[in-house]
């Protein structure tokens, strides 16, 4: 599976988490981290940041993060809530590996893009191009390189997550 088969993400910047070492559990609040129901998670998400967040969203919107996004002890519910609300992916200056691995395995697109905080503002229209490894700010008419995905990560995203990726790989006997 070539990474060129990954479709680009195109959407608006829904929010900018500029804090370095951001603990994603804060998105829903630690007291809500054990909630299983995704609709309930979506209701509590972002209340500390922008109570009207959900109402402003359009499907395909993208989150922006700072350096070492996902540091700490990341759980899955915050990004489950984000996907449920229509968020299509996350672009950050850099990622904490535990968070990265967890979300890639959920089939949730992520892109490391050094310099992204200075290159976008909230509600800019952006495009993440995995074929050319570029982040395009369509509002500003600028672009920045993103870091290339590993072959395994690209294949997992293309398949839609860990389970479909493994099923397809095992079915085709693909051992790369």
């Amino acid at each position: 599976m070539s990474r060129n088969s990954l479709p680009p993400l195109r959407g608006r910047v829904a929010f900018v988490f500029d804090e370095p070492d951001f603990d994603v559990d804060q998105i829903v609040g630690v007291k809500n981290i054990k909630i299983q129901d995704v609709e309930e998670l979506a209701r509590v998400a972002m209340q500390a940041y922008d109570p009207d967040f959900r109402a402003k969203l359009r499907p395909g919107d993208i989150l922006i993060g700072g350096a070492n996004f996902g540091y700490g002890h990341p759980h899955y519910p915050p990004m489950r809530a984000m996907r449920h609300m229509g968020i299509a992916g996350v672009v950050a200056e850099s990622f904490s590996p535990g968070y990265w691995r967890g979300e890639i395995s959920m089939g949730f697109p992520q892109a490391a893009c050094p310099g992204v905080l200075a290159a976008v503002s909230r509600w800019d229209e952006i495009e993440v191009d995995y074929a050319d490894n570029l982040l395009r700010n369509l509002t500003r008419g600028t672009q920045l390189p993103i870091e290339a995905l590993s072959a395994g990560d690209a294949a997992m995203l293309a398949a839609g997550g860990l389970l479909p990726y493994l099923k397809r790989d095992l079915a085709t006997g693909d051992a790369r």
């Binding site: 070492d21 007291k31 981290i33 002890h73 691995r101 590993s150 395994g152 099923k167 095992l170």
Partner: protein
Amino acid sequence: MGHTITEKILARASGRDSVRAGDDVMARPDFVVAYDFPGYTDVIFRQMKEEFGIDRVPDPDRFGLFIDHMVPAATPAEEELHIGTRRWCAENGVRLFERRGIGHQVAAEVGYAVPGAFLVHFDGHISQLGTFGTLAMGIRRNLLEAFVRDKVAIRVPGTVRLDVTGRLRSGVMERDLFHHIVRALGPASCKFQVLEIGGPALEGLEVEGIQTITGLAMFTGAVTAIVNPAPRTLDYALPRALKRIEPVRSDEDAAYTARHTLDLDDLEPVVVVPPSPANTRPLRDYLGTEIHAGYLGSCASGRLTDLRAAAKVLKGRQVKPGFALHVVPTSQAIMAAAAAEGLIETLVEAGAFVSSPSCDYCYGRIATMTAGQRAVSTGTLNVKGRMGSPDSEIFLCNAAAVAAAAVEGRIADPRDYL
């Protein structure tokens, strides 16, 4: 240009003559280990069967399961999980280690820390097997891959090399050293890299202390940590090794992403203030902070060295009335050794509540704090809500500092007691 120990281990595991950092390979883990936890092992067992039609793992000797969380069980659902794990292990002929202690430590005791081996778990603290030259990585839910096929997809990580020089002063422990590394190098300094630790000061550190450091490597952004095998770690690891593998070491001219040197002479005790493991601060800046509870234990700390340090502080003294000091040796073997040394007696006489090994204190399942309470802890983490209410706080520090805080009911300098 030579190779790192990590490149050598992954070359062997992927059946290649050599690999370089950045290469995408399919590598066969020598061992696949996990503790049972809802959403991880129960899901893996179910998906193996229902999604992939695999009833049994083909080579059960590669696998190992641990029951160390929810021990003892407090609800029927927890016991159901354990029953499912026992049944799966029995059906698959897979080794199960139950109530032996915290799995990351027990894994070393029972022989999974094979120098030169490649091992995967879902939990990143398994990196502590790197103390013995094992490449041990926590890959979260991707662990499923290792249960349904022989090899896992992995990009060979680069390596950040840290050389330590000098000597830790009295009252400064390897636990402090780890948090100094986070401060000096940064919480993302090793992102997606292996943290390789070496240098002349290494042999002056306790092996147990190196387990502390390597076990916490994720907080530098590292995917794991590793140390080149040395005579004393080989003496420990080889006689109990579950597999015969030729130990390997980094070449002198190996290529590193970055090289750092840290001198231990100048280090002092630290405290990691809430709510992030990135917040290393000098302990002296927080002296007098009121504290209500103390936890000495976890896969990171809770070994003999830690228990000795606490016992030295508490010998002939008393825990402050109302202060809850929980001491949880990391494994049954460590608990027995501590008892034989008289450490348990000292701790109990001082008023510590000493429990058998369990992971449950570290994440607030028991000894749960309520809003407004503060703990000193040798646990792994100080994020909000880790040990109970999101409005409680955790200050990470070394074992002697936990004991000193227990005596005074506030953050205190352990060096005053040594």
